[in-house]
């Protein structure tokens, strides 16, 4: 390939605080318009901001989890621009003293592990929401503004342009999202808008150490969109440059429907935000004690879990899947304390349980399946009391009703049949009733064996121990 790609990602994450960042209004999704406001987040005359301690702590936690240095003296700045969803027509943000700087995140790429540097993590306030009649920005008769979201705390995470491909970009995003979710600071739902992303992308000739002109991509609303938008934009830029033309520095909008980026260049000039220190807020002094206290609160993050799961005997693939699923991994960790075969638990969780969860569109914590119940089930299988088949059959009930597997098996007489003489009589019956198939087997058709096994399982309503059936059947057939 002739060209190298530089991608930088900017993430805005809505924090899971109970109240807004500069006022006590509740943070809630989906409330009727303008029902979660006050003088502060409406930008009324005379209103003043007061900083939410939890929002600061979430910012510090995130910065620490992203390996950032923490700015001991952080202040807020006003970012001045006019827009109807910005009630004060300035946004309280951070400029030259973000809470976290010079961090990094390591991702898995096709060529091994790669470190993506993180330039900054800072705290700011969200804007209100604009709705346009007709559902589009152009051609509307009027616009409607809802300020419920105004003042919700936002964490802005900016990477260096170290990302080299759309795949890496997606991987980076997923990793950051997982960290935010594991920390409990953001729910990471891109489709709901609680996590938003913008990308800067430029290309340069291979070997050149000067970055090319970058364009900024907006309206990327899912992980898939990130990949496709970047792919499109890279190709677009390559086409321009290979024709000898220059890429224009501009903002481009990702058109999901038509799968292309569209120029948003209007007659606007470059923004002059006239940043100056926010006089209504006093500086933050973040001392060692506060930082260490927060650091000790950081739970085990996906990276650590991944490594630990591998030492438990899980394959890298299994370990990765589990480590990046917050609820499932918490469930797994609890189960492992009660039962000595992590690989077995992992297998059940990742295959059968996951399927059931997908069917119900639920997370494991929204079901009645507990680690205790899961372990009970697995022990029953290990002890030979039920077959794997039966276990799979009763799994849905365990999930929906939280019943005890032992009870179910007793009540419905599902205990696995391991009594040799009982099985022999069933086998005898099957052989008698399927003489034709037995002939075929004796003539050399291997598949017939499985058919006969199936018949035994059918007659025993799945309760026969498959291994034993295999053994006894082979003997019986000679």
């Amino acid at each position: 390939m002739e060209y190298e790609v530089n991608i930088g990602i900017e993430i805005h994450a809505e924090l899971l605080t109970k109240s807004k960042v500069f006022c006590s209004c509740p943070v809630q999704f989906g409330a009727p318009p303008n029902t979660l406001t006050c003088p502060v987040c409406l930008g009324l005359p005379g209103a003043l901001p007061v900083l939410n301690k939890k929002a600061v702590e979430y910012a510090i936690l995130t910065a620490l989890a992203l390996n950032c240095k923490i700015n001991r003296n952080a202040i807020f700045h006003r970012k001045n621009y006019f827009y109807p969803d910005l009630p004060k027509n300035y946004q309280i943000s951070q400029y030259d003293t973000p809470i976290g700087i010079q961090g990094y995140l390591e991702i898995e790429t096709a060529n091994g592990r790669k470190r993506i540097r993180i330039r900054r993590v800072h705290l700011e306030e969200d804007t209100g929401k604009l709705i346009h009649s007709g559902g589009r920005i152009t051609g509307s008769d009027m616009s409607f503004v809802d300020f419920n979201r105004s003042g919700v705390p936002l964490l802005e995470i900016v990477s260096e342009p170290d990302i080299s491909s759309p795949e890496e970009a997606k991987e980076y995003l997923i990793n950051v999202r997982d960290i935010l979710v594991f920390l409990g600071v953001c729910d990471g739902k891109m489709e709901e808008g609680s996590m938003r992303c913008e990308a800067n992308v430029s290309i340069r000739k291979k070997g050149s150490d000067k970055l090319g002109t970058k364009t900024e991509l907006k309206n990327i609303n899912s992980f898939r969109a990130v990949e496709r938008a970047l792919q499109y934009e890279i190709e677009r830029q390559i086409e321009i440059v290979s024709k000898g033309k220059e890429v224009v520095q501009e903002t481009r909008h990702w058109d999901e429907k038509n799968e292309k980026t569209i120029s948003m260049r209007s007659k606007e000039e470059a923004h002059d935000y006239r940043y100056f220190p926010e006089p209504d807020l006093v500086p933050l002094e973040i001392d060692d004690a506060w930082i260490e206290n927060l650091r000790s609160q950081i739970p085990e993050l996906p990276e650590e879990k991944y490594e630990r799961y591998k030492t438990l005997g899980l394959t890298p693939y299994e370990a990765k899947l589990l480590a990046h699923d917050l609820e499932l991994s918490i469930f797994f960790d609890k189960a492992v304390k009660l039962y000595n075969n992590p690989k077995n638990i992992a297998n059940w969780l990742l295959v059968d349980v996951t399927k059931e969860l997908k069917d119900r569109n639920k997370v494991i914590t929204q079901t009645l399946l507990t680690p205790e119940i899961m372990v009970e089930l697995l022990l029953l299988i290990d002890e030979g009391k039920i077959s794997g088949r039966i276990a799979k059959d009763i799994l849905p009930e365990l999930i929906d009703k939280g019943s005890s597997p032992e009870k179910i098996i007793e009540e419905r007489n599902l205990t696995q049949i391991t009594d040799t003489s009982a099985l022999l009589s069933v086998i005898e019956q099957v052989l008698k009733e399927n003489a034709g198939v037995v002939e075929e087997y004796r003539k050399g058709k291997e598949k017939s064996f499985m058919f006969l096994v199936g018949q035994v399982m059918k007659l025993t309503k799945g309760k026969a121990n498959p291994k034993l059936v295999n053994e006894l059947l082979k003997k019986a057939l000679g």
Binding site: G43, P45, N80, P84, N89, S143, F147, P279, L281
Partner: protein, 481 residues
């Protein structure tokens, strides 16, 4: 003197002795409004007289003492125009913290007073609804921006008032109207509910007829407010009767504020005041604050810069006046172009410029450095002196229209008051003499949190002089001392 000319503490005593009824006091003020308000025009909104009288509660003595509130301090349910067309129809949906505190004492709000639009000005001529006139001479300005509040107290239509001070807007009108005005230490009175002009300089403060009333009113409104991040969590000032013993107190007379540009008659007044202080046992010496001469340019960079940002919220979207426009952007620009008056627009332009790309360091940052230099000048002076004094204004109250054409000249007249806001210090202006029946104010400045000392020094001077007992002659009816 009529009841309306007495002070709050005098009236409270009369009421407690049952020599006078609360309703009589309130009616006396309402009477003043009916007689003189059409000429003085101190108010933008006056509560219904019946409501005012009905607000009097027998067991709440302060409900008998009408107070006027500058129309940039939000009183829930009442209009809050900031003397601007852009807020002409705005009704405050919440109370400023200071109002909540007044409500606890049941203070009786008589109305909202006129000001320079958004507190930008020194004469109240920048009001979109017409100027207020000085009760001492109705051809002259009452000062600004709290001109309405100062005039209302001087004319007796309110016993006391609240104003706001960013560069002298309480002290200078107090001086021009012959009353007392205090700008407290920055951070001691909550700004929540005060329409912001320059956030790092604004403070709400009392305007009263004498120092005792000033201390009383200040004690009601000061104190930590969790709704204001810049309010200080320290022991609030609590009122105790003033004694006025200032023997041995060291007073510094600021040399740079008595130089050229100060009216000779004002200078003479200050010199006479020095003698009075000396007779009271104080020790007075001249002191130099060399960086003070940079105060005006420093202020006129910082204040408009903050104001340009604070006033950005007035865009016709959520409240206030809305002009027409085919797009939201057009509507916002038209609203602001039509809704703001010339001085406000001038300062927004200036503020936007000094913050803009390429100019931030040369102007805004540079001004912040001078702020440091000026503040440290004061700190050094307070190592030698208990308080500092100066004229409140270098001129006598000027005539309406005299300075409107030349903004720069108007700005330069703020030289005595501006440095104090830059340094965040407390300062009080008290009547210190009359020249051709026009009041001259003396400014007393203290280090941070020295309000108690300021009251004592001011009280001592006041009790040794007759000026606080003088009242303006209104409509040909002469009274007073």
């Amino acid at each position: 003197m009529e009841l309306a000319d007495l002070t709050a503490h005098e009236l409270l005593e009369l009421i407690s002795k049952k020599e006078v009824s609360p309703q009589e006091v309130v009616k006396s003020c309402i009477d003043r409004i009916e007689k003189y308000e059409p000429k003085i025009k101190a108010y933008l909104f006056i509560r219904n007289p019946e409501e005012i009288i009905n607000s009097v509660k027998e067991d709440e003595p302060y409900s008998a003492i009408p107070i006027a509130i500058k129309d940039n301090i939000l009183v829930k349910g009442l209009p809050n125009t900031c003397a601007s067309k852009i807020l002409a129809n705005f009704i405050a949906p919440y109370n400023a913290t200071v109002i909540e505190r007044l409500n606890k004492k049941s203070l009786n709000i008589i109305g909202k007073t006129n000001l320079d639009e958004f507190a930008m000005g020194s004469s109240t001529e920048n009001s979109a609804f017409g100027p207020t006139r000085n009760p001492w001479d109705i051809e002259r300005v009452p000062g600004g921006s709290s001109g309405g509040s100062a005039a209302s107290v001087a004319m007796g239509s309110a016993i006391w008032a609240l104003g706001s001070d960013t560069g002298g807007s309480i002290r200078q009108p107090a001086s021009f109207c012959g009353v007392v005005g205090l700008k407290p230490t920055y951070g001691t009175v909550s700004r929540y509910g005060l329409v912001a002009f320059a956030s790092s300089l604004d403070q709400i403060g009392p305007i009263t007829k004498d120092v005792t009333d000033c201390a009383l009113l200040y004690s009601f409104i000061n104190g930590y407010d969790p709704n204001d991040s810049t309010s200080l969590n320290i022991e609030p000032y609590r009122y105790s009767p003033l004694k006025g013993d200032i023997k041995g107190i060291k007073i510094g007379l600021i040399r740079e504020l008595l130089g050229e540009g100060v009216d000779p008659s004002v200078k003479k007044c200050i010199e006479d005041s020095v003698k009075i202080f000396e007779d009271l046992g104080a020790i007075i010496e001249e002191v130099s604050l060399p960086y003070i001469s940079y105060s005006v340019p420093t202020y006129y960079i910082l204040a408009p810069a903050e104001a340009s940002s604070n006033l950005a919220r007035f865009d016709g979207v959520r409240y206030g006046f809305r002009a027409s426009g085919k797009t939201a952007e057009e509507m916002m620009s038209n609203t602001r172009g039509e809704g703001f008056g010339p001085e406000v627009k001038r300062r927004i332009m200036l503020g936007t410029y000094v913050l803009s790309a390429g100019y931030y360091e040369a102007f805004y940052l540079k001004a912040l450095k001078f702020r440091n230099l000026i503040a440290s000048d004061f700190r050094k002076a307070f190592e030698r002196f208990d308080v500092l004094i100066s004229p409140t204004s270098p001129t006598l109250p000027f005539k309406l229209g005299e300075k409107v054409e030349n903004p720069l000249e108007m700005y330069l007249a703020d030289i005595c008051t501006i440095p104090i806001n830059l340094a965040g210090l407390p300062a009080i202006s008290i009547p210190s003499g009359f020249v051709n029946n026009l009041p001259v104010g003396l400014q007393i400045i203290g280090p941070v949190f020295s309000e108690a000392k300021l009251f004592e020094v001011a009280y001592a001077f006041e009790q040794a002089t007759p000026f606080h007992k003088r009242r303006p002659q209104l409509g040909g009816i002469s009274y007073g001392v």
